[in-house]
C-alpha cells in the first residue's frame, strides 16, 4: 500500500507538470508536439526490453520481443520525424 501511494503521488504530480508544460506550446507546434509526445510514450520499451531478455518464460520473451519492435518504431520514428518537422520551421530571413 505504501508503495502504491508513492506511485499515485508521482502520477498526479506528473499530470500537473504535463498540463503546465503543454499549455505553453504554441498552436504552430502542435503537430510536432503530438509526434514528440508519441515518441516519449514509447518509454514502454524499457519494460519490453526486460521481458524480451529474461529467461523466466518463453512466451513472455516472445511477446516482449514484439513489444520491443513496436515501442522502438514509436521511439525512433517519433523522435526522427519530430526532428524533421522542427527543422522546417524557420524565421523570416
Amino acid at each position: 500500500m505504501e508503495a502504491f501511494i508513492i506511485y499515485i503521488t508521482v502520477f498526479v504530480l506528473a499530470i500537473f507538470v504535463g498540463f503546465e508544460v503543454i499549455t505553453k506550446v504554441p498552436p504552430t507546434l502542435h503537430t510536432p508536439l503530438m509526434s514528440g509526445a508519441n515518441a516519449i510514450s514509447g518509454i514502454t520499451v524499457v519494460g519490453a526490453l526486460v521481458a524480451a531478455g529474461s529467461k523466466e518464460s518463453t512466451i513472455a520473451a516472445v511477446l516482449g520481443c514484439a513489444a520491443v519492435i513496436m515501442a522502438t518504431i514509436n521511439v525512433v520514428g517519433g523522435f526522427l520525424v519530430t526532428n524533421r518537422m522542427l527543422l522546417m520551421f524557420k524565421k523570416k530571413k
Partner: protein, 462 residues
C-alpha cells in the same frame, strides 16, 4: 548496475522528457528540446540494458534492429500531408507495446516487477484494456486517413448498445484478471474484447472529426504507458505516460472547442444540417460576385495588408508552394502578408503550420485564430484558399445554424474577401456559406494551385 543507480538514471530521463516538452514552447528552442527528449530515452534504454534481470540479448537485438529500421524508414519517407495517419499508427504501436508488456508481467512477474499483487493485476487489466483499444482504434484511424478504409456505419442506438455491452464485458474480464491472475486466458479475452471495442468506437467517426480522434488516441497511448508503469512499478513510465496523457487531453479539448463540439458528440453523434437551415439558393440567389485573376490582381496591386487563410483544400491541391510565391511577390511589391490558421485547418492539430513550414513560409507569419481575428478589419484583402466552414459567418450570427458558436476567422470584416474555390459546394458541415454572397466578397473560381499561379502571372504583368 544496481537498482538504485538505475532508478537515478530513470529520474534523469524523466527530467529530460519534461525539459524536452518545455523546449517546444518556441520554434527556436524546439529542435534542441526534441534532442533532449531523445537523449532521455537513450539513457533509459541503456540503463535498462544493464539490468541484471536481462540474461539473453538475442530477442532484444532483433527487436531493436527491426523496430529501429521500420521507424527510421517511416520517419524519413513520410509525406507531410500523411503526418496524421503516421502519428495515428505510432499511437497504436505505443498502446500495443504497453498491452504486450503488461501481458509479460503476468507471465513472468519475477523478472519484471515487485509491486504488490493487487496493484500488479489491476494495473495489468487497465493496461490491457487501454493499450489494446488504442492499438485497434489507431489502426482504424490510420486506415481512414490513408483512404484504405471507407467503411463508416452510422452511429445508432444498436451500435451504442453493442459498445456498452463490450465495455461491461471488458470490465468483467478485468475483474477476472484481478481475481484469477494465474489464468492467462482471462487477460487474452480482455485484450480481444478491448480490441473489438477500439474498432467499434473509431469506425463511425468521420473525416472532419479525425483531429479529435488522433489527439484522444495520443492521450490513450500515454495512459497505457502510465498503466504499464504501475504494473512494473517504474516511475519513468508513470511520468512519461502522464505527460503524454495530459498533452493528448489538452489537444483534444482544443480541437473540440475549435469545432464547437463536445467530446461526447464527436464520439457518439454526427453533425448534420438541421431542418431550419437556409437553402443554398436562398443564401446565394444572384448575390454572388466572381472575378478573374486579372481583375483580382488589380486589387492586390494596391493592397497594404493581405491575410491568407489556408484550408485543407489548399493542401489537397498542393498549392502551398504557389501560395508562398504569391506571398513573396506581394511582399516585394510592399505589402505585408500574414497567414491566419484555424485550429482545424488541417487533419490534425497544427498540421497546416507544418505544411506551410515545409513550403518555407516563415513561422513568424503564421498567426493563430485568437491572435489575428482583431486584425481583419485593417486588412485590405483576406484571401481564402480551400477553407469554407471555418470562415462561415453563420457561426457568429445565425443562432439556428448547426455550426453556431464555432470560433471562426472573421474574414468578412476585411476590405475585400477573395475566395478561391471550384464551386459554391458546401464544406464538411453541409451548409451554405453567406460569406460568398457578402457585398465585399469575390469568388475566384478554379483549382487552388492554378488560380494562385494565374494571380502571380497577372501581378507580374502589371
Amino acid at each position: 548496475m544496481g537498482i538504485s543507480l538505475i532508478n537515478i538514471v530513470y529520474l534523469v530521463a524523466s527530467v529530460c522528457f519534461i525539459l524536452g516538452l518545455k523546449g517546444l514552447a518556441s520554434p527556436r528552442t524546439a529542435p534542441r528540446g526534441n534532442m533532449i527528449g531523445a537523449l532521455g530515452m537513450l539513457l533509459a534504454v541503456v540503463a535498462t540494458l544493464l539490468d541484471q534481470q536481462i540474461v539473453t540479448f538475442q530477442l532484444i537485438i532483433i527487436g531493436l534492429v527491426v523496430g529501429g529500421a521500420i521507424g527510421t524508414y517511416l520517419a524519413l519517407t513520410v509525406e507531410m500531408t500523411a503526418m496524421p495517419q503516421m502519428v495515428a499508427a505510432f499511437n497504436g504501436f505505443g498502446g500495443g507495446a504497453s498491452a504486450l508488456v503488461a501481458a509479460t508481467a503476468l507471465l513472468a512477474p519475477g523478472a519484471l516487477t515487485n509491486v504488490p499483487p493487487t496493484q500488479l493485476y489491476v494495473a495489468t487489466a487497465a493496461s490491457g484494456l487501454i493499450g489494446a483499444a488504442t492499438f485497434t482504434g489507431s489502426m482504424v484511424a490510420w486506415g481512414k486517413l490513408q483512404g484504405v478504409l471507407r467503411w463508416q456505419p452510422k452511429s445508432d442506438s444498436l451500435q451504442k448498445t453493442i459498445n456498452g455491452t463490450l465495455f461491461l464485458a471488458a470490465m468483467a474480464l478485468g475483474a477476472l484478471v484481478v481475481i484469477n491472475p494465474t489464468g492467462f486466458w482471462a487477460y487474452c479475452l480482455l485484450v480481444a474484447v478491448a480490441s473489438v471495442l477500439g474498432v467499434m468506437l473509431t469506425v463511425p467517426i468521420g473525416g472532419a472529426d479525425m483531429p479529435v480522434v488522433i489527439a484522444l488516441l495520443n492521450s490513450y497511448s500515454g495512459l497505457a504507458a502510465c498503466a504499464t508503469g504501475f504494473v512494473l512499478g517504474n516511475n519513468v513510465l508513470i511520468i512519461a505516460g502522464s505527460l503524454v496523457g495530459a498533452s493528448g487531453l489538452i489537444l483534444t479539448s482544443i480541437m473540440c472547442k475549435a469545432m464547437n463540439r463536445s467530446l461526447a458528440h464527436v464520439l457518439f453523434g454526427t453533425l448534420g444540417p438541421t431542418a431550419e437551415t437556409a437553402t443554398a439558393d436562398e443564401v446565394y440567389g444572384g448575390k454572388v460576385k466572381s472575378a478573374s485573376a486579372e481583375e483580382a490582381a488589380m486589387i492586390f496591386e494596391t493592397a497594404r495588408l493581405v491575410i491568407i487563410v489556408p484550408g485543407y483544400g489548399m493542401a489537397v491541391a498542393q498549392a502551398q508552394h504557389s501560395v508562398r510565391d504569391l506571398a513573396n511577390l506581394l511582399q516585394e511589391k510592399g505589402a505585408e502578408v500574414r497567414y491566419a490558421i484555424h485550429p482545424v485547418a488541417g487533419r490534425m492539430p497544427g498540421h497546416m503550420n507544418v505544411l506551410l513550414a515545409e513550403a518555407d513560409v516563415p513561422y513568424d507569419q503564421l498567426f493563430a485564430l485568437e491572435d489575428i481575428n482583431d486584425t481583419f478589419p485593417e486588412a485590405d484583402i483576406a484571401l481564402v484558399i480551400g477553407a469554407n466552414d471555418v470562415v462561415n459567418p453563420s457561426a457568429r450570427e445565425d443562432t439556428t445554424s448547426p455550426i453556431y458558436g464555432m470560433p471562426i476567422l472573421d474574414v468578412d470584416k476585411s476590405q475585400t474577401v477573395m475566395i478561391i474555390k471550384r464551386s459554391l459546394s458546401p464544406g464538411f458541415a453541409g451548409i451554405p456559406n453567406p460569406l460568398f454572397a457578402a457585398p465585399n466578397a469575390l469568388m475566384l473560381y478554379g483549382d487552388g494551385k492554378e488560380m494562385v499561379r494565374e494571380l502571380i502571372a497577372a501581378l507580374r504583368e502589371q
